[in-house]
């Protein structure tokens, strides 16, 4: 970067034609732009389906890259940098962007050219980012995105005048419609040629690192090029008048929340169940071909069924990704954050944590992946750490089984409410309280934030496109399968080995059976026997696995709420032990997928380890207390 020396004048003259790193040859192109400039839409447009997502090393910022196949230049790699307002490194995103642009990011090639995307509706402010980017001296093309919208709303931008001021080519595009993209092809072709002896342009850039001088510079250029800002979106204002209204706003918010649950449970649950049936039937079919040896057992009982127990959640997870995508792309996500901020603040989190925590009621995996919209790292980590306390759908099979077996179906409160429903509801409340208590605890201890303000930009409402939603859902789905897949495979193989060694023994005599016996003294104070111990051990892969394990151990049909299994459990467990078991499941981190995703999102094993330990200890203590208290009352 150019070190500027003149202070006070606000403007310094610098030579911008610095030698590119690989003169004349472009291999890597960086996509730079502020948040909400439509950068991701353009990235999807330019790379199509063939994009890769990973974490940058050592940080929690996602790296998106792909071949420029969307404009027929598959020989070039496009790197999508995180959305940033400036290159001053006060955020992790900006630090990553600076490192990548300087070629200082390990594993990421230094970019040879830059596509700078600016939202043409708000060019006056968006131009502020152009100053530090142009100062890098790389071949740059400035793209005025959403130019179609700007023009229909009466805005004007003179690309030629802007190009003259900025010393680089400027083009109008619309990433949503895919117009103006030929300017990118043009730019890349011309820059791939050996550079002609281009005259060194002398360009006036503001003093680096000074927001005020950036602003004066950007305003100056806007004025000189006669930029005319379009009228602000009429219907965004009108919609906000309703959706952020004191009464209608929260009401609509409530409707959205209820709609999500309806969709996830009335559509997602049957989909998941159907998918599970297909997976199991498929496993049995293939098993039939393999005969009855240990190979069949390992492949089908071990791997296939183990992996299937996690895969059954895929329909629900994808539905949640879709739902979060609609909220985000439409612009309502920011409004939801605005409405819920006051309540979330009371536990030390901010409004942006609300939708992720809400999704965690169905599944913690999409919830944790959705926390990326929370800029503040400590707030984001706190949200990640509490999300698995929300009652996810994998807890329901064991809740339903235990409640059906042990809680009498009596009416309470004058017949309005069933006792079984009351117990179920209190388990939901318990998870909620644990999440909020933990959030409060984290925010007043290890994740205390000094003074990070809550700044929320409210983007204009937009209609989400099918294209961008389907890309998002497939991309997120792939990340989940890739990330959780390997670990789940390892855990299922390990559990199979532990349940089948020594060979030709039943589950109780296997390693895991002996381990279940061995931990019995530890779990007896909770009211659990060794069979429950085995169930707890085998369900580390996914919570609902315990129902199947108990079915095997009691020699009964493991189908949820099966009467045979219920009778066997009633015979073997006390009411106190049964309630302690559901409380244990309310708190314990029995989910390998979640641990794998937390590892990915925090980019370290430290946080999943802390989370697993904390939740297990809490589960043990709570189950112990439940067992002892109920025993006290019954006596």
């Amino acid at each position: 970067m150019n070190d500027c020396c003149s202070v006070g004048t606000g403007v310094a003259v610098v030579d911008t034609i610095a030698a590119p790193r690989a003169p004349g040859k472009i291999r890597t192109v960086a996509l730079v732009g502020p948040p909400n400039s439509g950068k991701s839409t353009l990235f999807n447009r330019l790379t199509g389906l063939r994009q890769k997502v990973a974490n940058y090393p050592g940080v929690t910022v996602e790296q998106h890259f792909g071949k420029l196949s969307g404009i027929g230049r598959s020989d070039l790699v496009l790197i999508d940098l995180p959305g940033i307002y400036s290159l001053d490194s006060y955020s992790e995103d900006a630090r990553v962007a600076v490192d990548v642009l300087h070629g200082a990011m390990p594993g990421t090639p230094a970019p040879d050219a830059i596509l700078l995307v600016l939202d043409s509706l708000h060019l006056r402010r968006q131009l502020m980012l152009a100053a530090p980017v142009l100062a890098l001296g790389l071949p740059t093309l400035v793209l005025l995105n959403m130019s179609d919208l700007m023009e229909t709303r009466g805005g004007e931008a003179d690309t030629l005048a802007l190009a003259k001021e900025l010393g680089v080519p400027v083009a109008k595009i619309s990433a949503t419609r895919g117009t103006g993209l030929d300017s990118i092809t043009h730019f890349l072709d011309s820059k791939s040629q050996p550079p002609q002896a281009s005259p060194t342009t002398r360009l006036e850039l503001p003093v680096m690192g000074n927001a005020r001088s950036y602003r004066q510079w950007a305003t100056g250029i806007s004025t000189r090029t006669k930029y005319k800002a379009p009228l602000s979106s009429e219907w965004t204002r009108k919609l906000d008048g309703i959706l952020l209204h004191r009464i209608w706003g929260p009401l609509f918010f409530l409707v959205v929340v209820i709609a999500v649950f309806q969709v996830v449970f009335t559509i997602g649950q049957p989909l998941s169940d159907g998918f599970g049936t297909i997976l199991n039937a498929g496993g049995d079919k293939i098993g039939g071909f393999l005969g009855n040896g240990w190979v069949e057992s390992l492949l089908i009982d071990g791997i296939w069924k183990g992996v299937a127990s996690v895969l059954v959640f895929l329909p629900q997870i994808l539905l949640l990704f879709l739902f979060i995508g609609v909220l985000e792309d439409s612009g309502y996500l920011a409004r939801a954050a605005l409405i819920s901020d006051r309540a979330m603040r009371s536990i030390g989190l901010n409004g942006k944590a609300f939708i992720p925590l809400l999704s965690a009621y169905a599944c913690a995996v999409p919830a944790i992946m959705a926390t990326r919209t929370i800029e503040n790292k400590r707030d984001r980590f706190a949200t990640i750490l509490v999300a698995p306390f929300m009652t996810c759908s994998a807890r329901l099979p064991i809740y339903l089984l235990m409640i059906a077996a042990f809680v009498p179906n009596k009416h309470i409160l004058g017949g309005f409410f069933g006792l079984q429903a009351a117990v179920m509801l209190s388990l939901y409340v318990l998870g909620f309280l644990a999440a909020f208590g933990t959030a409060w605890l984290l925010k007043s201890s290890i994740l205390r934030t000094a003074s990070a303000p809550f700044i929320l930009e409210l983007p204009q409402y937009r209609l989400p496109t099918v294209r961008s939603l389907s890309l998002r859902v497939t991309e997120r789905g792939k990340v989940f399968l890739k990330q959780a897949g390997t670990i789940i495979l390892c855990v299922t193989v390990a559990i199979w080995v532990f349940s089948h060694v020594p060979f030709h023994t039943d589950l109780p005599q296997s390693l895991i059976g002996r381990l279940g016996h061995a931990i019995e003294p530890i779990i007896r104070p909770l009211g659990f026997n060794w069979k429950i111990g085995i169930g707890l051990l085998s369900s580390v892969v996914a919570r609902e696995v315990i129902v199947g394990t108990l079915g095997t151990l009691y020699g009964a049909d493991p189908a949820t709420q099966s009467l045979g299994l219920q009778a066997a459990l009633r015979h073997d467990l006390t009411l106190a032990g049964a309630m302690a078991l559901v409380v244990f499941f309310a708190f314990a981190m029995q989910c390998t997928s979640t641990l794998a995703i937390v590892k990915r999102e925090t980019n370290s094993w430290k946080w999943p380890a802390i989370q697993f330990t904390y939740m297990s200890v809490l589960a043990y203590v709570a189950a112990f207390a439940t067992n002892q208290i109920i025993l006290l009352f019954i006596r």
Binding site: H122, R125, A211, D240, A334, I455, L458
Partner: protein, 80 residues
């Protein structure tokens, strides 16, 4: 001169200074809250806080705890 948080919905003002730590101040300036910028109070969240401000054609919500450190000169003529 008064604090941004004290302005009523519908009023406009010119930003004068930010009494915030450099890091936060710079971030807010990059988002538009720079001296000489004109800011309009658009609406408050249903719960009364945060408040939505319009600056440079963008709508940005800030909590009262942040907005009270932004010094502004109210504009008598009101919004647009």
């Amino acid at each position: 001169m008064s604090a941004l948080s004290e302005l009523r919905v519908g009023t406009a003002a010119i930003v004068e200074s930010l009494d915030l730590p450099d890091e936060i101040g710079h971030h807010l300036m990059h988002m538009g809250f720079a001296p000489e910028a004109r800011v309009v109070v658009v609406r408050r969240a249903p719960a009364g806080d945060p408040t939505v401000y319009s600056i440079d054609g963008f709508e940005i919500a800030l909590r009262r705890e942040t907005a009270r450190f932004i010094r502004v000169a109210p504009q008598p003529e009101g919004p647009q």
